[in-house]
């Protein structure tokens, strides 16, 4: 009963805080919405594009060129051995006949058919898992070179290094944007609390006069912080939905040009609900800390 009473009172005092400076409250919500929108839109796009990314062959490949004398049974055995190796995602066998046919189709050369013998070797294309580090690729390449029936081995590690570097940079950029957004949100809440404390100086003086404890004094400010970030998150979800709906047809058309399917969608409702709750908790906790600090400073 007591817990309910003090919380109900805190909600009423929170409403008074907003009524004292409605413009400041709205500004804080708008700033919070702006800070939330960038990572929320990024997360929505990343989730929508995830199936597309899974279709891309992003694992490094090692081409094993086999000796012309290698019998078919040996090649099959080697293919099975390689497929069983840890870190190997897939092993594809391109027969010398298939390779010649593909070459002829690609070059449009009819002269290849006049060759007395097929000069191309059988090739085993070993695809390593996407998480393989560039150094690990080099090590595997050296090991595969030493296998029997393997005449030469080539790995295109340059693009894999580039891709790994790009992914690292992208991860760092996402972390930086997330960190900046988080810092901005904390600053918005803290600045908002300090302003509310300034406009509520008389109220705080009276609470001290009547023997209110710190928790009683802090609670309305904490609720205000929670509501500010929760409303900011709601507004950000709305903005993200509107933005994605506006660009979704163009993005789908662009993906179709490359033979892919892309449907831009906002995060699922249960994710948004979890983010809303997290925003409210972070807002409440930050505001409570800010208010405690402010009250200590003005004691």
């Amino acid at each position: 009963m007591k817990a309910l009473a003090v919380r109900a009172h805190a909600l009423r005092e929170m409403a008074r805080l907003f009524r004292r400076r409605p413009g400041s409250f709205l500004l804080a919500v708008v700033l919070a919405a702006a800070a939330f929108t960038v990572p929320l839109a990024g997360a929505s796009i990343a989730r929508s594009a995830a199936p597309l990314a899974q279709q891309l062959p992003i694992g490094p490949e090692i081409n094993l060129f086999l000796a012309a004398s290698a019998p078919t049974t040996d090649i099959r055995q080697l293919q099975s051995q390689l497929a069983a190796r840890p870190g190997v995602a897939q092993v594809e066998w391109i027969t010398r006949e298939a390779a010649l046919k593909a070459l002829a189709q690609r070059t449009g050369s009819s002269g290849l058919g006049d060759l007395k013998a097929n000069p191309l070797p059988d090739v085993l294309v070993v695809t390593l898992s996407a998480q393989t580090a560039p150094g690990e690729v080099e090590k595997t390449l050296a090991e595969l070179r030493r296998l029997p029936r393997v005449e030469s081995a080539v790995a295109d590690t340059g693009w894999h290094r580039q891709l790994t570097a790009i992914l690292r940079a992208a991860t760092l950029a996402v972390a930086l944007v997330g960190g900046l957004a988080a810092a901005l949100l904390v600053l918005i809440v803290l600045a908002s609390v300090q302003l509310q404390l300034t406009t509520s100086a008389e109220y705080v003086r009276v609470l001290r006069l009547v023997g209110a404890d710190t928790r009683f004094m802090v609670r309305p400010f904490a609720y205000a912080g929670a509501l500010t970030l929760a409303l900011g998150m709601l507004a950000a979800a709305g903005l993200t939905w509107a933005g994605l709906a506006a660009v979704a047809p163009q993005a789908a058309d662009l993906a179709q040009i490359y033979g892919a399917t892309l449907s831009l969608q906002t995060l699922p409702p249960q994710w948004l609900a979890a983010l809303l709750a997290a925003a409210a908790i972070v807002g409440g906790a930050t505001a409570a800390l800010g208010a405690r600090w402010g009250l200590r400073r003005t004691r």
């Binding site: 003090v6 109900a8 009172h9 009547v210 023997g211 209110a212």
Partner: protein, 226 residues
Amino acid sequence: MTQAYPANAPLIELVRVRKDFGPARPVLREVSFAVERGQLVVLTGANGAGKSTVLQLIAGWLAPDEGRVAVAGEEPARLRGAALTALRRAIGIVPQELQLLSDRSVLENVMLPALAAGLSRKAARERAGAALQRVGLADGDAPPARFSAGAQQRAALARAIVNRPAVLLVDEPTAFLDAAAAADLLHLLAEFAQAGVAVLMASHGEPAPLPAAARRLRLSEGRISE
């Protein structure tokens, strides 16, 4: 807190209290006095004599540089957290500036200490209504600005007594009141004292004849005299 405290012991006790605001501003020098349950003590002195400082020391907002300040046997300056909060709730304070919040009704102002003590809104409203009746204000639905100076003083007094304190500190309550209103207020304070509250009132003069039971103390040059 006050239940465990001996009934015949003074509720307010200052023993050889010294308080300076910097080396050039000594305010209190060896101030000693006590206020017992049921006593109305009027502390007089010129402006700047240190009357408000005495009240702030008792309320625990200031700490003495030397000596001992105790309320119901507890030293506010040594208390922290819940113990300090509990002690402050046992002290009703009417500051000189009244500090009634203008963004709510007088009734809601008076309800505030009860809500801070954890009472439900209904219980706080009932208690605030009773406190307002006790000080002679029947209707507290309007904001403080709509009330006269005397009524505002009474409203601040109602807020101070709503949690049924053992100690009542009143700072210059008659400063802006005419003689009749001042006399009424002093009569009211005497009634609280008769009900068992230790009442300490600070005033720069005597605007109205003091009740017969009131004890006078004079603060001059940092020292107390009867």
